[in-house]
């Protein structure tokens, strides 16, 4: 079906799938442009993880000799995976806060006024987060690998790590977008950030679970961030094995699928309440 309004012909159901894809891509492009034009906003998520990696590599280099610590070339090699996860955690908050800002300032209404699929509005925003996650992951590897942090999985392993970083970014972006949709407040999204930081701290991001004990270990054992980091770390330390690839992609994919479903549910709930 097409709708003619004066001399403009509007594509509708005849190409609805293609049109939805075009709309989602356009919205992903917008969120990417937005991020690129706010360097002050994205710089912390690019440089703080590098700073933490360098600091921990110089401070904890001797911890690699502790019994239970995996065999590594350097602490930097061990920290490679956690740097990616840390960076995309920070970066995803920025994307979700931008969604909340759209809700606050009325731009979201402009999107709702258009004859678009509602899921496309959210998926477009999340696709922007995922692209940023891919970029961040590639950036961290490019900067840190030369500092005695080789990836045993080689270039294929590095590519899977970048892909996994993108999926993690999508997953965290979806979780934080749920907060954005529910509260409609950029402050609330930023306020939820410390919770992510605590989750990261109580995971195996900075030290292997084998070296932990007590409550710290029990929390790390059930903390999903531990499994995200360990999947990526397997590609760094074990090589490009089937098990490492599956672990690095499966965990983030499962979390991502659940998070996107939850975010879409939140969006439907919000729209139903209008």
């Amino acid at each position: 079906m097409t709708v003619a309004t004066s001399n403009i012909v509007i594509e509708t159901t005849a190409h609805s799938r293609q049109l939805s894809m075009r709309q989602t891509i356009a919205m992903a492009k917008r969120s990417t442009i937005e991020l690129a034009r706010q360097p002050a906003l994205i710089a912390p998520s690019m440089f703080f993880p590098i700073f933490f990696a360098v600091l921990s590599a110089s401070s904890f280099s001797k911890t690699t000799a502790i019994p239970g610590f995996p065999k590594v070339e350097s602490f930097m090699q061990f920290a490679l995976a956690s740097t990616i996860v840390q960076g995309v955690l920070f970066g995803s908050v920025t994307g979700a806060a931008a969604l909340a800002t759209d809700i606050e300032n009325g731009f979201f209404d402009r999107l709702l006024l258009a004859p678009t699929t509602r899921t496309g509005i959210l998926l477009g925003r999340l696709a922007g987060s995922a692209l940023f996650g891919l970029f961040q992951s590639a950036f961290f590897l490019t900067v840190l690998v030369p500092f005695n942090a080789p990836i045993s999985g080689g270039i294929p392993g590095a590519l899977v790590m970048v892909l996994s970083g993108g999926i993690v970014s999508l997953a965290i972006g979806a979780i934080m977008s749920s907060v954005a949709i529910r509260t409609g407040s950029a402050e609330a999204v930023q306020g939820a950030f410390p919770l992510l930081f605590v989750l990261l701290f109580f995971s195996s991001a900075f030290f292997p679970r084998e070296t932990m004990s007590g409550a710290y270990k029990r929390i790390a054992d059930i903390n999903p961030i531990s499994y995200l980091v360990e999947g990526l770390r397997a590609l760094v330390l074990e090589g490009f094995t089937f098990s490492a690839v599956v672990r690095s992609l499966l965990v983030p994919t499962v979390i991502c699928a659940a998070a996107i479903l939850f975010a879409l549910k939140e969006l439907r709930r919000k729209l139903a309440a209008l």
């Binding site: 356009a26 917008r30 300032n105 009325g106 731009f107 209404d109 402009r110 006024l113 004859p115 209008l274």
Partner: protein, 316 residues
């Protein structure tokens, strides 16, 4: 699709927010090619009504059809046929005018081949060609409103909703936007305009509905509504301690009318010819008149007569 030829029809439209009844059973019929003004103070329910008519809010009860489609049952059909410029001109400040127009074009399913031409046409139409590649954050309030209008027109809608399009604009920008609205209307677009500015409604609208506390209290052509109020209003300012004496005198010449604080108003039953009598009587009652003015009936008088209070921002 509803066979009704009228582009906007609302029947007994009601919207609650919790216990608050924001819109209380309004009925509106807007004819093809009209500019319909929806006039009322802040919080009267104008924007809520527009949000229901543009599918952004579901009515609690009642029905509405826009461009022939029920807003609740066929929202996408309505969205394809309407253009909307909302109250706050919510435009992403990080994007350029061109980028936003192209995004809007994709959202409305305009084929890639037509996007550039359409965006350029609209930028020229609203006088933003020179600023097209600048970020919107650098635009003035008037430029943002004009871009907002261009965005609303991307798919050549048959019905255009403008929610307080000139709030916060300087007089020049306001006049320029009015001109554009008239031009669009002359080209056949039906326009529903909400405003809190009396002059805007008076200048632009073929018909207006006055809304207060969620209810339509008057509806008709501006000139008919003003004629309905009848008498001119005499406004005077007197020293505070002489207010009661002045009121007693004025009441003998007609019904007292609500005014801004510090002044008194009376609808002169005898018309402007009795003004000298009023002044003489006030003098005899030892009331010192500090200021005096006579106003022919205005939409503000219509509003005051219908609601018992003056419209906020009436002088803006």
């Amino acid at each position: 699709m509803n066979s009704s030829a009228d582009p906007i029809v609302a029947q007994n439209l009601v919207r609650y927010f919790g216990d608050v009844k924001a819109v209380d059973g309004i009925n509106i019929t807007v004819k093809t090619g009209e500019i319909f003004g929806f006039l009322g103070p802040n919080g009267a329910g104008k924007s809520t009504a527009v949000r229901m008519l543009t599918t952004l809010l579901r009515p609690t009860s009642g029905t509405a059809t826009v461009a022939g489609f029920d807003v609740a049952k066929h929202p996408d059909e309505v969205r394809r046929r309407i253009g909307v410029a909302l109250q706050d001109a919510a435009i992403d400040p990080l994007m350029t005018g061109t980028e936003l127009l192209r995004l809007q074009a994709v959202l409305y399913g305009i084929p890639q081949a037509h996007m550039k031409t359409r965006a350029n046409e609209l930028l020229e139409r609203v006088g933003l060609t020179a600023a097209a590649d600048r970020r919107v954050g650098t635009y003035s309030g008037g430029m943002r409103r004009r871009l907002d209008l261009a965005l609303a027109l991307i798919h050549q809608p048959t019905v255009l909703f403008l929610d307080e399009p000139t709030t916060g604009l300087d007089p020049m920008s306001r006049m320029s936007l009015w001109e554009e609205v008239r031009r669009l209307n002359n080209e056949g677009t039906t326009v529903m305009l909400t405003t809190q500015y009396l002059e805007e409604a008076d200048q632009l609208a073929d018909r207006i509905a006055i809304i207060d506390a969620g209810k339509i209290v008057r509806e008709g052509k501006p000139q008919d509504l003003k004629a309905g109020v009848g008498f001119p209003t005499l406004l005077i300012t007197v020293p505070f301690d002489q207010t009661e004496r002045a009121k007693a005198v004025l009441a003998t010449f007609g019904d007292m009318r609500p005014t801004a604080e510090g002044s008194l108003g009376v609808g002169l039953r005898g018309g402007v010819t009795v003004v000298t009598d009023v002044v003489r009587k006030l003098d005899e009652a030892s009331v010192r008149v500090q200021h005096l003015e006579i106003n022919e009936p205005s939409l503000d008088d219509v509003f005051a007569e219908a609601t018992g209070h003056r419209l906020e921002g009436a002088k803006a």
